[in-house]
Amino acid sequence: MNKSVCLYFQVHQPTRLRTYRFFDIGKDSHYYDDFANRTILKRIAKNCYLPMNELLLKAIKASKGKLRLAFSISGSALEQFDRYAPEIIESFKALAATGKVEFLCETYYHSLSSLASPSEFQHQVLKHKAAIEKYFGVTPVTFRNTELIYSDDIARQVYDLGFKTILTEGARHIMAWQSANYIYSAASKSAVRLLLRNYGLSDDIAFRFSDKGWNEWPLTADKFAQWLADAEGEIVNLFMDYETFGEHQPADSGIFDFMQALPAAVLAKDMEFVTPSQAVRKIKPVAELEVPDPISWADEERDLSAWLGNELQQEAFNKLYRLSEKLALVGDADLWADFGHLQESDHLYYMCTKFFSDGEIHKRFSPYATPYEAFINYMNVLSDFIIRVNYAEQQN
C-alpha cells in the first residue's frame, strides 16, 4: 500500500473586539472592531487566501486530480468573507467543485464550547455543518475541534453528533512510543477514527520554512518529499493554519513555489494524497488511543494552557458560559450571535500570560499589548453583554 499524505488547512479569522471602555458598558453594544477586521481580512485575502486557492486549484488540475486536501473554515471566517471579501468564498467554491477537496466540520465560532457545555457544543457543530452545506453544497463527515482540542469525552460527544473521524494532535505525551503516522481509534468510542498531526513535519513548513538559522534551510519540495517517504508508518498528516502561506511565511520566502512543486514531488515518490475521509476508508486502525485530559496543537505543552492556563482566562470563560441557560430561555438572535462571537477562542488566547516560552508567538497574534488589556477589554464587553442578557430575561 502506498504511503498516504493528508493535507489539512485551517481557515479562521477572529472577530476582533474594539477598544471597549467601561464608560461604554450599558450604553453601546457594538463590540467589534469592524475596521481592523476588514483591513486584516483584506490583507490576508490578498497575501494568502486568493493566491493560494488559485495555486491549489491549478495544482489539482495539473495533478489530474491526484492532489487532494481538506479545509476547515470557521463560521466566524465565513461571516467575514461574506461581509468583506465574497470573492474568497467563490474561490473556495471553485476548489469544492473539483471534488478533490474535503470540507471539515468544527464549532461554528471556533470556540471552546466542547469544554464548557454539551448543548452549546452541539448547537455550534450543527450550525457549522449547515453553513458548509449552504456555501459548498457538501455535508461534512469529518470533525476537527477548535485548535485540535480532543479528549475521550469529546470523542463521545462528536460521535453522538454523527461523525466517525476526528483530527487531533500527535502530542508526545499521548503517543509515548507510538507513531502519529498510523490511524488510531478512540478508546472511549471504538468506531471513531483518529488522524494525528505529525507536528515535526507540519511545523517544518508552518514555522521553520523561512528560518534561515535552521540547518535544513532552504527547504525544497524534493527534500521534503523525501522526508515524507522516509517517515515510518502509513500516513503523514500535515495539518496547519492556512495563513501559513503568504502570511506567516511571506511570499518572498518561496513558500508558494514550494507548495506548487510539492504535489509532483510527493507523487513521484509513489505516495498518494488522501483526504481525511478517504484515509480512514483506506487504512485500518492499529490501536486504541486513550486521552483522558484534553490535548491541543498549541505551544510546547499541547494542552489547554494557552486558553485556560491562568485565572484571568478561567474567569472570563466561566462568566461567559454561565450565561448559556439564560440565553436558551431568551432566544434572541442578536444575543445569540454576540454570544457566539464572544466564545471565539482567540479572545482567551490574547489573555495568555505564558510570557517566557511561547509568549512571542502569542504576542504576534494578539491585537493587545498585554494580556491584562485583553482581559479588561473582554470583561468590559462581557459586562455589557450580561446586562443585556439579564434585561432580556426580565422582559420575558
Binding site: 467601561f22 464608560f23 482581559f375
Partner: protein, 428 residues
C-alpha cells in the same frame, strides 16, 4: 575588585531614593565579591557598614596640593567663600588648575593637611557650593586612598565633580550612575543650567555611564549627546529583606485607589485626578487617595473640587516611614502615572504589599514589571479603564496581586550588581 564610590546619602538618614539604591548596590556588589569604599558628604555614624566602608567627607581635610604646584596652592588659598572660613574655588577653576598642573608634567603631587569642610549632606540652598567642595574633598580622598581602589563610581550629578576630580588625580576609570536627569526634574524651560552642565561634564568625562532604565539611557544619548556605546542600562532592584508585612484595620469598605509620591508635574497627578472622576461617574464603591506633597498640591485640590469628587477623593499630605507602609496596606490599587520617571521604585513597594499597580509606560519600572498594568500617562481613558477593571474584576485583581508579589520579590540587587560588575570588568 575595589571601587571608590561617591554617594550623597546612605540609610538610615535619607531624603530621596538615591540612598536606598546606593545601599542596595554596595550590598549587592559585596555579594558579587566587589569591595566598596563609600564616600558621602556627611555620615551620621549609624549607617550599616557590613557591606561597605563609609568615609565621611566632613572628616577629611581638603587637598592642599603642596610643594611644586605653587600656583594651584595660591589659588586655593586665596579663593574664599562668603564666610571666609573655608577655601573655595568654583569647579571650573579647580579643574583648570589641575589641568594646568598636568600640562606642566607635574604628576607628583602630595597631599597636605588643610581645612576640613563641614557638609550638611542635604539638598539645601547652598547645594551648589557643597557640590563643588565635595569635589575637592573627593579628589583628596582619591589621592589618599589611591592604592585601595581600581575604579571610581559616582552616583548622580551631586557627586559627578568628585568623580571627575578623582579620575583626574588618579587616572583611574570613572563610572557615573544616572539615577535621574534634569529632564525628569522639571519641564525643559525651567531646567537649572548649572546642574545640566555638571551632568553633561560628568557623563562626558565618564568611561561608562550607567542608567537605571532604557528610558533614561535614551535621554542620556539624545539629550546629553553621549556616545551610545558607553551607556549601559542596569535596572534598579529593591531589597525587601527584613521587611514585615503590617496589618491594618480598614475604616471603609470601599476600594481604595492610591497615588503616592511628590505632587509635581513629573508625577502626573492631574491624570490621576481626571481618571478618578471618570471612574466615579460609573461606580461609587471606590475612593481615591493622593498621598504626598509638592508644588502642584494646591492645584490638585482645586481640580478635585472643580470636578465635584471631593467626597471620594482624599489628600493625606506628606507621609513618612511607617505611614507609607500603612498607606500601601490600606490600598487596593496603586497608581504611578508619571510623565517621566527614570525608574520609580514605589510600584515595587506596592506590589510587595500585594497591591496591583498601574504605571505609565513613561517610567523605567515599566521595562521590568511584567505584571503591572501599563498605560501612557496621558491616556486618561485607559487609566480609568484599568482602575475600573481592578476594582470590578476580582480575577484580575488577585492575579495581578499574586504574580506581582512574586515578580518584585525576584528583582534582587544581586542580579543587578552582577551586571554592574561586568561593566566594571570591561574597564579594567
Amino acid at each position: 575588585m575595589r571601587v571608590l564610590m561617591f554617594g550623597w546619602e546612605f540609610p538610615p538618614h535619607i531624603a530621596g531614593g538615591l540612598g536606598t539604591a546606593c545601599e542596595g548596590i554596595v550590598k549587592g556588589l559585596a555579594h558579587n565579591g566587589v569591595q566598596t569604599l563609600f564616600v558621602m558628604p556627611h555620615a551620621s555614624g549609624d549607617e550599616d557598614q557590613s557591606a561597605t566602608t563609609i568615609l565621611d567627607a566632613s572628616d577629611v581635610a581638603v587637598a592642599n596640593v603642596s610643594n611644586t604646584v605653587e600656583e594651584f596652592i595660591n589659588k586655593v588659598k586665596f579663593m574664599y567663600v562668603d564666610s571666609n572660613i573655608v577655601p573655595y574655588v568654583d569647579p571650573d577653576e579647580y579643574f583648570d588648575a589641575i589641568e594646568k598642573m598636568r600640562r606642566e608634567g607635574l604628576t607628583q603631587t602630595t597631599v597636605g593637611f588643610g581645612q576640613k569642610f563641614n557638609f550638611s549632606g542635604k539638598y539645601g540652598a547652598n547645594l551648589m557650593e557643597e557640590v563643588s567642595r565635595y569635589a575637592q574633598v573627593g579628589g583628596t580622598i582619591a589621592m589618599q586612598h589611591q592604592d585601595e581602589f581600581d575604579l571610581i563610581h559616582a552616583h548622580d550629578w551631586l557627586t559627578y565633580l568628585a568623580g571627575i576630580a578623582a579620575k583626574e588625580l588618579t587616572g583611574k576609570p570613572l563610572v557615573v550612575h544616572v539615577h535621574a536627569t534634569s529632564y525628569d526634574r522639571g519641564d525643559e524651560k525651567h531646567i537649572d543650567t548649572r546642574v545640566l552642565d555638571i551632568e553633561t561634564r560628568g557623563m562626558q568625562a565618564a568611561d561608562r555611564v550607567v542608567t537605571v532604565s532604557d528610558l533614561t539611557r535614551n535621554i542620556v544619548i539624545n539629550k546629553y549627546g553621549i556616545d551610545p556605546a558607553k551607556v549601559v542600562t542596569v535596572h534598579n532592584a529593591v531589597d525587601f529583606s527584613g521587611r514585615e508585612n503590617i496589618e491594618v484595620e480598614r475604616g471603609v469598605k470601599d476600594k481604595v485607589v492610591t497615588f503616592l509620591g511628590r505632587i509635581t508635574f513629573q508625577k502626573g497627578p492631574e491624570y490621576f485626578i481626571d481618571a478618578a472622576a471618570k471612574v466615579l461617574k460609573r461606580t461609587k464603591n471606590v475612593r481615591f487617595v493622593m498621598a504626598g506633597s509638592g508644588d502642584m498640591m494646591n492645584r490638585a485640590i482645586r481640580q478635585v473640587a472643580r470636578l465635584g469628587i471631593a467626597d471620594r477623593f482624599h489628600f493625606t499630605g506628606f507621609l513618612r516611614g511607617a505611614e507609607v507602609q500603612k498607606m500601601f496596606a490600606l490600598s487596593d490599587v496603586y497608581i504611578m502615572p508619571s510623565v517621566s520617571e527614570p525608574f520609580g521604585i514605589s510600584p515595587l513597594e506596592a506590589m510587595r504589599t500585594g497591591v496591583p499597580s498601574i504605571i505609565s509606560h513613561q517610567s523605567g519600572a515599566a521595562e521590568v514589571l511584567k505584571y503591572a498594568l501599563k498605560v501612557d500617562f496621558w491616556d486618561v481613558d485607559a487609566l480609568a479603564d484599568d482602575i475600573y477593571a481592578l476594582v470590578s474584576y476580582p480575577a484580575l485583581t488577585s492575579f495581578a496581586s499574586k504574580q506581582g508579589y512574586d515578580e518584585v520579590n525576584d528583582l534582587k540587587w544581586n542580579g543587578a550588581t552582577a551586571k554592574l560588575k561586568k561593566v566594571y570588568e570591561s574597564l579594567l
